[in-house]
Symmetry: C2
Subunit: 349 residues, 2 copies
DNA sequence: TTGTATGCGTTATCAG
DNA sequence: CTGATAACGCATACAA
């Protein structure tokens, strides 16, 4: 029928035959309350289905009991967002915090934060897609607003969690090396992205540490076609037998590029990616990749944030390790098993 | 330095030399205010960067100025969520509404809604993953709480937006038919999912309407391997030349299954999917699919919701059309161009 | 046209 | 141990 008015603390108090203050005390365990009244209050709460209204709590407390997260802007469709958000929401919920979502409409990365803050805001922010000299970090830090970053920040006072991309790529390099590959190549992103630079670093470090000659590196934007078109350049001189890529999207492009020039990815040339997007396991051959533990990251971020909110100290920066997922693109048997016979019939070309 | 206290309506009033009520009137355009004072108030607001606090507004208004959305539970990683949420958030923002995210922890689909509602809640809900006889729909409707569903509901009073899956599949069937295919098969989901049933309906309708014999149909869960394993059954008797699938995930599995038995998807057997997940364009051959206009859906849902909130009538149900994206899996030239030479060298097998 | 006073639901302070 | 009361920031009758 009609929307039943939500029960207030006064309703509970009347039903239990006590004052509002006593109800509040019972709920928060503040003062010592006689067991008898305590029980009556709990019964009334149960019976009425009472729960303190967020808005009413907010007002005197000066807090919102909400965390906020700004959706990444014009980036590519992000399947990891799903599990990330899930974990953020449910970890926040464990601390009785809710998650407010907002988005940026213009190019200005800071404006939406400022806007939200002016309107009552949130108790803390989860930031992702951190860039060098991130304006948002500066803005929030200056105002003493609690936040935690998914992505490293070069400031010991800032709380952040990041995936160890360098270590991930090192694992990939080691993996293909153990498969017998000596001539590797790296397809990276353009200079200037913390994540991209970090992953490239892992490649350089590990190939050096293995005593390999300097290996060829090309840089492309994070795009299937860009990866595809990079292959001819790559196979120009050094003829690598394994291509380590900065991302799955690029790696899948590279695989297509290899086919373009008549090479079988996985069989002729090993390929690795990063991120373990769904497509990595949905293609033949499957793409060896590095899975980011987005659930861990989400949980840790919120835990860091909560620690700040309750004024509890804790380590400021955490590096989590990605998991190497080995598939046929580096073992060669996938392409074979998926295509037991050569394609002989072709149409339309 | 320290967090500057947010300016209140009182600060604005003092600076402008008027009362709080006047400020409120100016902001809401309620009463007629003399142009001079109006300007002074606006100046003060501008200067102070004032914006009414959400919590303080909420209390007397009995509204939260927030919409809420419950993240889908244990479903597969959903890259469409990204653009969907983006659109929901930004459309809501156009109506000065924010989006609260929550999640369900247990099997009970209703409990998180009840919980949120008890704690102050939200002004309206966006629901997705609608099932037959959806408990949440019943719960919210019973309590007169505004909501809008992504997914059809068999109740003329309920506001919903859905993608026309039947029509999408009809387009796919027509497309492969025009490519010369007469023996089709459909790989669907198990009975009981509104979306799956709808898509199957489109297949049945269109093949009938084209005057084709009843075509074979198999049902599998929405899983790559399930699709892959379905192929042998499919090729048992009728030997279809085109396989229409209920989803991209299944379709990609089917393509792998075809390779398993030595058939080249795209060249030997046409395959279509649904959803246009990123993987559809990241494989060779590319997968012909149907793209759901998630941005449209998100915007329409919020618009429906807002219409309810301001008591404005509007059509309750909207069916949006998916777009057929034709790729090489139904034209045959993709596999060819991507693999100009047969794979002759194979390792490890 | 503008100002004053009250209430929204909660928590915290202070008496009893 | 328990109850009254002020305050949080805002909107809205109502008064001037």
């Amino acid at each position: 029928m009609s929307t039943h008015r939500r029960p207030t603390i006064r309703d509970v108090a009347e039903l239990a035959g006590v004052s509002m203050a006593t109800v509040s005390n019972v709920v928060h365990g503040h003062a010592h309350v006689r067991e008898g009244t305590r029980q009556r209050v709990f019964d009334a709460i149960e019976k009425l289905g009472y729960r303190a209204s967020r808005a009413a709590k907010s007002l005197p407390a000066g807090r919102t009991f909400m965390l906020a997260y700004c959706l990444p802007g014009d980036t590519a469709p992000n399947s990891a967002l799903d599990v990330f958000l899930h974990q953020v929401v449910s970890t926040a919920s464990d601390a009785d915090l809710e998650l407010l979502l907002f988005a940026q409409k213009r190019a200005d990365r800071v404006q939406p934060y400022a806007e939200l803050l002016r309107g009552g805001g949130a108790d803390g922010f989860v930031l992702s897609e951190i860039e060098y000299e991130d304006k948002r970090v500066a803005y929030l830090k200056e105002r003493n607003i609690p936040f935690a970053c998914f992505g490293r920040v070069d400031d010991p006072a800032v709380h952040w969690v990041d995936v160890d991309g360098a270590s991930g790529i090192r694992a990939a390099v080691e993996h293909v090396y153990l498969q017998g590959h000596q001539r590797l190549a790296f397809v990276g992103w353009p200079n200037g992205s913390p994540t991209g630079d970090d992953r490239l670093l892992g490649f350089t470090e590990e190939t050096e540490s293995l005593g390999l000659e300097p290996q060829s590196v090309v840089r492309v934007i994070n795009d299937f076609d860009a990866g595809r078109k990079a292959v001819p350049n790559l196979m120009d001189g050094s003829d690598p037998t394994a291509i380590v890529c900065v991302s799955d999207t690029v790696a899948l492009g590279v695989m297509a590029g290899l086919r373009d020039i008549g090479a079988a990815p996985g069989a002729d040339v090993a390929v690795t990616g990063f991120d373990d997007i769904p497509a990595a396991s949905l293609t033949a051959p499957g793409l060896t990749s590095l899975r980011q533990p987005m659930d861990q990251v989400g949980a840790l971020l919120v835990q860091r944030l909560v620690a700040q909110l309750i004024g509890q100290s804790a380590p400021n920066s955490i590096l989590v390790q990605p998991d190497l997922i080995v598939r046929e693109s580096t073992t060669g048997n996938g392409a074979a098993s998926a295509e037991p016979e050569p394609h002989t019939r072709e149409r339309n070309l």
